[in-house]
Amino acid sequence: MGRKGRKPPPTPARGICSPAVNHALEVEHLSVAFGRTAVLRDLSFRVARGSTLAVIGPNGAGKTVLFRALIGAIPYQGTVRWASGTRLGYVPQKLDIERDLPLTGDDFLAAKAALASVPHADVLRSLALVALAPEVAARPIGALSGGQFQRLLLAFALLGSPTALLFDEPTAGVDEPGEERLYETIHRLQEERGLTLMLISHELSLVSRYATDVLCLGREPACFGPPDEILTPALLEQIYGAPLKYHRHT
């Protein structure tokens, strides 16, 4: 039995390779270890289609490791099942880019458009979605500011009509008004297109506003449930090891 949260989701119909119809993702008994250090242990949860899962936890709890296991970038034990036909969009936390790389934002997005077999016009549309000016995208990516580069990564993730988006602290480095706007954009897209959204965030007020479910790492066992149940002062203190306050949107 997986170490699920206090309110485990209903058992889905068993499928060989694709999860139950209403689930975008099923994770069962997922464990990841680097050498002898266990980072994730026997984690099980499900993400409903069109819902938003927020992953929270202190630094070093394995949030990014979880995402990298979900996209198949690192070896793991257990089962990760994406619904058939899933197209992933991923925004990593940060990338180590050489400053003088002769690649422009346009080169980068054109590459994704070609890989996703979508017309080049979609590049302009995704730039508009993340409010990045075309003349900024024409610059070498090493010359972009942190916030501009983050928007470029978002535009990259949105190209090719993904069905599921994984955001690892999507708004790190983005200024506060920009952060609000990005979340609103993401939320609007989610409603328009029925996207499944998974995000790692330290912004608990945003988590409480947008998340359908919250998965907390950094505590044994990990907990899973709606924000009302997880974002309680007592549980947050267990997760983060210190009392935590956040502004709750109503």
Partner: protein, 253 residues
């Protein structure tokens, strides 16, 4: 006087070297690529000993070296560079023991000689295949060099792409062994691309500048070599290096 077929082969090899070099430089493979080209030497030595075509021996050794680098890329970057430094320098030493005298100098610095029609045809075919690979896979290569995780989520088989790129690299080195030798071929791949990286702002400009410089250096080097009766390979690299140093005077746009 350089024959037209030989020049056609050198030019197509240079174009392939310029294209492969762009991604080698952007993938920070500059040092590794020099070391990889050294691994051709023991293959050439063994081929000479067994009276096989030396370039076939060189190519075989390069492909083995490539598989080794590919397997090592799974480990950390640090370990890869260390092992490349040790293994490929050892390959150079073993090669130097296997080949001797003039054979060794020819293998190290290249020795243009009369080519059979099948050698020219096969060489040009291989150079075109490398160029076609880089141009058709440039989108995958771009995304993978920015982030292998993003490449994976965009449907790119990163391990396979990496292997294909290293094979293209090995074939390009093998193509240049005839006239540049083990020591200098890595330079024709790296120097024009490094110059292009300094001058260009976007990918297509970089590819175009690198190919033009590699082809230009090859043609100019061959012409000067004919006039001065000096070996071709070193002159090609001197011309390419002169362009690199000149480019440093140009401010990046």
């Amino acid at each position: 006087m350089t024959s037209i077929p030989a020049l056609a082969l050198s030019v197509s090899t240079a174009a392939a070297a310029g294209l492969v070099g762009c991604f080698a430089v952007m993938r920070r493979m500059t040092l590794a690529s020099d070391a990889i080209s050294h691994v051709a030497l023991p293959g050439i030595g063994i081929a000479i000993a067994f009276r096989i075509h030396p370039l076939l021996g060189g190519l075989a050794a390069l492909l083995v070296g490539t598989l080794l680098v590919w397997a090592l890329e799974e480990r950390t970057r640090m370990a890869t560079e260390t092992v490349i430094g040790v293994v490929f320098s050892t390959a150079l030493a073993i090669g130097a023991l296997l080949a001797s005298g003039e054979d060794l100098i020819d293998a190290l610095l290249g020795a243009p000689r009369a080519l059979g029609p099948w050698e020219v045809a096969l060489g040009i075919g291989a150079a075109l295949a490398v160029a076609a690979f880089v141009l058709s896979q440039r989108h995958r290569l771009v995304v993978a060099l920015v982030s292998t995780d993003l490449a994976r989520t965009s449907g790119v088989d990163v391990r396979r792409l990496s292997l294909m790129f290293l094979v293209a690299f090995a074939v390009t080195v093998a193509l240049g062994l005839r006239y540049l030798g083990v020591l200098l071929m890595g330079s024709l791949i790296i120097i024009p691309a490094a110059t292009a990286k300094h001058l260009a702002r976007d990918l297509h400009a970089m590819l175009a500048v690198a190919v033009s410089l590699a082809v230009g250096a090859t043609v100019v080097g061959e012409l000067i070599a004919d006039r001065l009766h000096r070996p071709t390979g070193p002159l090609i690299i001197v011309v390419a290096a002169a362009a690199f140093f000149a480019s440093l005077l140009v401010r990046r746009p």
